[in-house]
């Protein structure tokens, strides 16, 4: 029996496959296995020999079982290791890419702008695109025949209605909705229209962001402070602004706001015409008549307004040099704004 034990253990040791091990298990421990058969002979032995023999066979059986288990585990590990050795991918092949969408840069720019103004207590007010002449011009101090009307080549729908030439009528509509409550702080983003043929810097359809603040004790200094905060938030913390006197019938004093060139950082380059400054926004103190047209008393409150081109802001921010690409929607353009 000792011989047999040695033989069995050797055979287990020499087994190369899991199938071989299974055969050995069957051969020795199966119903008709040799060890099983040995156990069956216990009954035929003299009574006094039975316990000793039985214990021996059982011990052998346990040893074999243990060895089989160990060997199985070891062969399994080897098999797994071998399998892992076989499994190699070409990691330079492209991954299975999930489809990523994208926001249009105009939306992206507007979100940043809205975020900055939210921080300063502004809300977003969306006004109409088709407007009355009254709202687009007259209420903003642009009486019929006013030369500044000509500067905005207007697309009329009828003699009295038009496509808004600026987001400024939103000032009046927004104020009227506020019904005299203070403070008034909102921005009006939206689409505007001009009678300009499409070229690299003009489009009959473009976008503006208007801002209006009306409250007690609002001064020109707040206009400067508010716009500076916006400009730094949008173009970067080292951005400077410069205000120059200008003219808008609905503000007085009026200003043109330049921001330090986003390309050369104020040193002067092609984009800024070597001045270091980029024209961005028209602004000014809300004209008393406009304040009155919005249902507020210009003797009690003052305010400021500004408006700038969203398209231009986005173009400056991302170095887009042709307005037309914003409206062409070529995939080769759109895909560049993934992840923004």
């Amino acid at each position: 029996m000792d011989d047999m034990g040695e033989r069995v253990l050797r055979e287990i040791e020499e087994a190369k496959t899991l199938a071989g091990l299974d055969q050995l298990r069957l051969k020795y421990l199966g119903k008709k296995g040799e060890i099983t058969a040995l156990l069956k002979t216990v009954g035929s032995l003299p009574k006094e020999e039975r316990p000793g023999f039985g214990a021996k066979v059982n011990a052998l059986r346990e040893v074999i079982e243990t060895r089989l288990r160990e060997k199985t585990a070891s062969l399994e590990r080897e098999a797994l290791e071998e399998k892992v050795r076989q499994e190699v991918v070409d990691v330079t092949l492209p991954g299975n890419l999930p489809q990523v969408g994208s926001l249009h840069p105009l939306t992206k720019a507007l979100r940043e702008i809205v975020g900055i103004f939210y921080g300063m207590g502004f809300t977003v007010y969306e006004s109409r695109e088709a407007e009355t002449d009254e709202m687009n011009f007259v209420k903003l101090n642009l009486e019929p025949g006013h030369p500044a009307r000509d500067a905005q080549d207007t697309l009329y729908l009828t003699d009295t209605t038009l496509l808004r030439t600026h987001t400024s009528p939103g000032q009046i509509r927004g104020m009227l909705e506020m019904q005299g409550r203070l403070p008034v702080r909102f921005i009006v983003p939206g689409r505007v229209y001009r009678r300009d043929p499409m070229d690299a810097s003009h489009s009959p359809v473009f976008h503006q962001v208007e801002g209006l603040v009306i409250d007690r004790h609002i001064t020109f200094e707040h206009l400067k402070g508010c716009f500076l905060e916006f400009a730094r938030g949008f173009f970067g913390p080292d951005t400077e602004i410069r205000l120059r006197p200008s003219y808008f019938p609905f503000t007085e004093p009026s200003a043109e706001i330049d921001v330090s060139c986003t390309i050369c950082r104020g040193k002067g380059c092609q984009v800024c015409g070597r001045t270091g400054w980029l024209e961005l926004s028209g602004a000014g103190m809300a004209h008393p008549r406009v304040i009155r047209n919005g249902g507020y008393d210009p003797d009690e409150v003052t305010g400021f307004a500004f408006g700038f081109g969203l398209d231009r802001a986005a173009m400056l921010k991302w170095g887009i040099d042709d307005l037309r690409v914003l409206f062409e929607n070529d995939l080769r353009f759109l895909t560049q704004f993934e992840g923004l």
């Binding site: 489809q99 502004f122 030369p147 209605t161 200094e221 929607n329």
Partner: protein
């Protein structure tokens, strides 16, 4: 407006450099858009004395002169009358240069060699041949010889090109800009005598000096239309000699962007540039009668203008007329009949005030914008007409030897205005913030030649009456004066001040938040946002296949569109989105998924068209570009439906899909999205006919939604507790008639099953062994009881209920 630097400095001695001046003027609101150095290439052209003149041996109209430059003698052949012994002239010796890139060479005139040429103004200013009757330039006696023309004539200059806003009409003149520069720099204004005498810059405007001979001219002026022309000043100058203005005057006009014509015309332009008051000169002897009338044109009247064009006048346009009819389109251009020529002996000068808006209307109708009309349309100084005419007469006398009549005809029905505005430092504190003192304000007003009255204390503030000169037509009220203070105080000096924190101060706009979320969901699902124009062609709508009863078929037309392709407002985002597909197919992009949000417009019975905010989606072609792992996936109905279903779910919207949408959808592969009882959107594959019309290829699915409807349904999420019991899945397959919608089957299951969490369709099959005309729909039911573990008995009972309900409801037979 172009401002030559030396001309400006004639009226104010600036000690800033020209660049510095540009910077300061720009920061003052007088924006200098361009600064250019205008140089004439005159190298080698020098002063020379005509020592000797003899006739040309064979050509009687030519002379042969000996010219001495001080260092050398030259023989020059010329026919110029000015080639006279003793004159100092300009010699362009061989190898010298004149503008136009011409290098002078030795030339032979009928056997006599000319070593260079003596030059006239046209040659050195424009590089062109002498004009008719033009003589060579004769320099003042005593001019040193051999000096370069550049040094003698001093013709090179910087030109500042101003980009003025419409309210800066007071800067449409060199003297006007000089006042701004003088006020800013503190340097005194130095005006020619006549302007000082008339107090041109003063707070009351130009006024007749006490010693002015108040004699009316012989010409009568009638003003039958004072609303168009309330003031017309005329003055006669007799005995003018035809000719050209001095070279430096011509040069100045050229630098300012005008073309020299003749001494008389040049003077009218020169004075216009100097003062901002346009002037005109008529040939007196060509005028009929003795009355000038500034009247409305009559029906059928025609005028040939100075540019040689025959122009049909409209009733209502203002004309200047003599006994025969119109001689000028008032404020726009003179007529050819009375044009000043080289034969003119006597002239009538015109200096008038023409009303801005009618002038603009007239030049627009005639498409004839001139320097004069550009000034009249922005309102000229209503007091400057006489002084401008005096200045012109003075210069014409100087350059042509003419004799101005004494006094002038001044027809004036204009209300004299004394603009006096009450000004308080309160407006400065309230509007500007910075504590600018009353004294400083007063100083600024004085520098601008306004007349501030004494300062009175009024509570915390100080007030004064400020008289504003009439040339400042832009200043009407206190706030305008406040702007002047801000400008001259300096915009750069105001401290930026942050807004104090405040509760958000605008009309509430909760929807905007959901609107933004909706965009995020679309990006997360792979959609690319696009921005397309709202202006379409009628054909774009026609291509969608909407019939005439469809409100989307017409659109809101523009009154005067740029082109027919941009002549109506869009009624749908779909035409624009299909153009995006077309564009990307044309640049060979294999597929894409685009979306846009934007306004669409419908005609309305109200004054303004109806505006609605829509979401449009379109996908075409292969949506996964040749992934080696998964291959391509196509832009099918179900692909897009999946996106819209998910979008609606994420937005918390409850909507159902009913078969069949309108054009431009495929009638069988499209659905209406219905919430409550209204259609909130449509989706489907593009109708093949539309696809063909638009030259699109491959699969294309599209959808539109009312953003307003989606936002109105949008709900915030609420947490529902997670069941402690394991969910159980059971599959069921039912065979129904092919026409039974899966939605009906799902609906029955949902209504019948108990403890059901969800049910999804995972297969639809209609091949054998499924009988012809039937289909099998396989469903996966997920049970998620909240109070117990489901037993096999529970599940089989539920199955029995479902089987019965399906049989009763849709005649379904269970396969599995």
């Amino acid at each position: 407006m172009k401002v030559p630097w030396k001309w400006l400095n004639e009226y104010v001695d600036l000690d800033w450099t020209v660049e510095e001046t540009c910077e300061r003027l720009t920061l003052l609101g007088v924006k200098v858009e361009n600064l250019t150095l205008e140089k004439l290439d005159l190298s080698g052209v020098v002063s020379a004395l005509v020592e000797d003149v003899s006739p040309h041996p064979s050509r009687p109209h030519l002379k042969v002169g000996t010219l001495n430059t001080g260092s050398r003698r030259y023989t020059v052949v010329s026919g110029a009358p000015g080639l006279v012994e003793g004159n100092i002239v300009l010699l362009a010796a061989p190898s010298s240069r004149i503008p136009g890139g011409t290098t002078i060479e030795t030339r032979t005139f009928a056997g006599v060699e000319s070593q260079g040429m003596v030059v006239c103004a046209n040659e050195i200013l424009a590089g062109e041949e002498p004009r008719s009757g033009e003589d060579i330039i004769i320099l003042p006696p005593g001019t040193p010889l051999g000096l370069s023309a550049q040094d003698i004539l001093d013709l090179d200059d910087w030109v500042m090109e101003l980009d003025l806003t419409v309210n800066y009409s007071h800067c449409l003149s060199i003297m006007g800009v000089a006042i701004e520069a003088s006020a800013l720099s503190g340097k005194p204004l130095k005006l020619p005598d006549v302007f000082r005498k008339w107090d041109w810059a003063g707070p009351l405007g130009s006024r007749r000096p006490p010693d002015d001979p108040d004699e009316a001219g012989e010409w009568k002026v009638e003003l039958p239309d004072p609303d168009l022309c309330p003031r017309y000043v005329g003055k006669v100058v007799r005995g003018v000699r035809p000719g050209y203005a001095p070279v430096e005057v011509e040069r100045r006009l050229m630098l300012a962007g005008m073309r020299p014509i003749s001494a008389i015309v040049d003077v009218t332009n020169y004075v216009m540039l100097e003062t901002g008051q346009p002037l005109h000169a008529f040939d007196l002897d060509k005028l009929e009668g003795k009355v000038i009338s500034a009247r409305r044109a009559r029906r059928g009247e025609v005028i040939e203008t100075l540019d040689g064009e025959e122009r049909q006048l409209e009733e209502g346009m203002l004309v200047i007329a003599d006994a025969l009819g119109p001689v000028a389109v008032a404020g726009v251009m003179g007529g050819a009949r009375t044009e000043v020529s080289m034969e003119t002996k006597n002239i009538l000068l015109e200096s008038a005030f023409f009303a801005p808006i009618p002038t603009r209307k007239t030049y627009r109708k005639l498409r004839l914008r001139t320097e004069a009309s550009a000034r009249f349309e922005k309102t000229v100084d209503p007091t400057a007409q006489p002084v401008a005419i005096e200045r012109a007469a003075e210069l014409i006398a100087r350059y042509t030897g003419g004799i101005p009549e004494v006094g002038r005809t001044d027809a004036n029905v204009m209300e004299p205005v004394r603009k006096s505005i009450s000004f308080s430092t309160r407006v400065v504190r309230r509007t500007l913030g910075a504590p600018i003192s009353a004294g400083k304000c007063r100083e600024i007003f004085e520098d601008l030649h306004f007349a501030p009255g004494p300062v009175r204390k009024e509570g915390d503030f100080e007030t004064m009456e400020v008289t504003v000169p009439p040339r400042r037509v832009d200043i009407e009220e206190e706030i305008d004066l406040c702007e002047e203070i801000a400008r001259f105080y300096g915009y750069h000096r105001f401290e930026p001040k942050p807004l104090t924190p405040a509760t958000p101060g605008g009309p509430p706009n909760k929807e905007y938040v959901w609107f933004d979320r909706m965009k995020d969901f679309l990006v997360a699902m792979g959609g690319r946002e696009v921005v397309t124009t709202s202006l379409l062609a009628p054909d774009d709508l026609l291509a969608m296949g909407w019939d005439a009863s469809d409100t989307r078929s017409t659109g809101v037309p523009l009154m005067d569109p740029l082109s027919s392709s941009e002549s109506i407002l869009r009624t749908s985002l779909l035409p624009g989105l299909l153009k995006v597909v077309s564009r990307n197919q044309s640049v060979r992009m294999p597929g894409g998924f685009f979306w846009e949000t934007g306004r669409v417009f419908f005609p309305s019975t109200e004054e303004l068209p109806l505006e609605a905010l829509q979401l449009g989606l379109v996908m075409y072609g292969a949506l996964k570009e040749g992934s080696w792992v998964e291959g391509e996936s196509e832009a099918t109905f179900f692909r897009l439906k999946g996106v819209t279903e998910t979008l609606l779910r994420l937005m918390g919207c409850d909507a159902s899909f009913l078969p069949g949408a309108s054009m431009p959808f495929h009638p069988g592969i499209s659905a209406r999205v219905v919430a409550g009882h209204s259609t909130v959107g449509e989706l489907g594959e593009l109708h093949p006919l539309v696809k063909k019309n638009l030259n699109l290829t491959g699969k294309c699915a599209l959808a539109w939604f009312s953003v307003e409807a989606i936002l109105a349904m949008a709900r915030e999420k609420r947490f529902s507790p997670i069941s402690k019991f394991m969910p159980v899945e059971r599959d069921i397959a039912v065979v129904v008639q092919a026409g039974v919608p899966a939605g009906a089957v799902v609906k029955i299951v949902k209504e019948t099953a108990r403890d059901l969490h969800s049910v999804t369709v995972f297969d639809v099959y209609d091949k054998p062994p499924i009988p012809e005309g039937k289909k099998s729909i396989a469903l996966r039911l997920t049970y998620s009881p909240t109070d117990r573990t489901l037993t096999e008995e529970d599940l089989s009972l539920d199955r029995e209920r479902i089987v019965k309900a399906l049989r009763d409801g849709v005649g379904g037979e269970i396969r599995l």
